[in-house]
């Protein structure tokens, strides 16, 4: 039991908050990646992975908050669907782009960046 201002937080509330904040963090990074990355293929990296994990975390946070009942079973099914559908959609977009002949962005060969990149 943790007291925060006037509210008392039980252990499962804290767990739910941690999960949902983690989900929001990954949504944030995937959005930033979508804006910052240079081309379609590398943007897919940001959205295809980040959204999947973020949705999983937020749904598990909701399940923890809700307890085990019929609603959380339905939430589990949503998570399962996202888990299958999200990489499939990413693959579909990427394959369409690849077959249309879109060239991936390459880092320009600079003197400072030739050879193996560090770490």
């Amino acid at each position: 039991m943790l007291t925060l201002g006037n509210t008392n937080l039980a252990a499962n509330d804290i767990c739910a908050i941690v999960l949902i904040v983690g989900g929001l963090f990954f949504f944030f990074t995937s959005t930033v990646g979508l804006l910052r990355f240079p081309d379609l293929y590398s943007r897919m990296h940001a959205t295809g992975k980040g959204d999947t994990l973020a949705v999983l975390l937020i749904i598990s946070g909701a399940i923890v908050h809700h307890g085990l009942n019929l609603n959380s079973a339905k939430l589990t099914l949503i998570a399962l669907f996202v888990f299958i559908a999200n990489p499939t959609a990413t693959h579909a977009i990427g394959r369409a782009a690849y077959r249309c002949g879109i060239k991936p962005w390459r880092r320009k060969p600079e003197p400072s960046n030739s050879g193996e990149p560090k770490k």
């Binding site: 990074t29 940001a46 994990l53 690849y98």
Partner: protein, 167 residues
């Protein structure tokens, strides 16, 4: 294409899966809703049985299901690592990415379902996205050469092969 001849028991199995799912989701157990459910499930099982039971496995299905669940836990761990790495790349002031497309030839995996699972797993794990699958060749876009090297290591392929194949 829809009317590939299948044993009637498969349609029946699909119907019962769909019906169980309907009852689980609806929450209304009166004659009207259950009748609608039965009609919908007949349509669904007619149209999609050949999608559900397409894959002929050489192992028992329940063993595959069990090992697949174990594989999923491993995959979730990998996904968390992947996201932390991508997050670090995204948030670093200079984007230290050097993307490229590599061709990965899979050696242990046969069949549509294992290839789909493997392709989706590649998409979900560190810095790699499956672009196309032609035969045994996976065309994979990698964010950095290090991620590409991690794929060439082939650990994930062995795990997927372990789930679906006896060898």
């Amino acid at each position: 294409m829809l009317l590939k001849k299948l044993p009637f028991t498969r349609y029946l199995a699909t119907f019962f899966y769909a019906m169980a799912f309907w009852l689980f989701l609806s929450g209304h157990y009166d004659v009207f809703h259950i009748t609608i459910g039965i009609l919908c499930c007949i349509g669904v099982s007619y149209a999609s049985t050949n999608l559900l039971f397409q894959y002929e496995a050489d192992k028992k299905r329940h063993i595959i299901a069990l090992e697949f669940i174990l594989y999923t836990f491993w995959l979730i761990k990998e996904i968390v690592i992947a996201n932390l790495q991508v997050a670090r790349l995204v948030l670093s002031p200079r984007l230290k990415i050097d993307p490229g497309i590599i061709v990965y030839k899979c050696r242990h995996i046969q069949g549509d379902v294992p290839k789909t699972v493997y392709g989706n797993s590649i998409t979900l794990t560190p810095g790699t996205v499956t672009l196309d699958i032609v035969g045994d060749d996976f065309y994979v876009h990698a964010l950095t050469p290090a991620f590409a090297a991690g794929l060439q290591d082939g650990e994930m392929e062995r795990r997927v092969a372990h789930v679906y194949h006896t060898k």
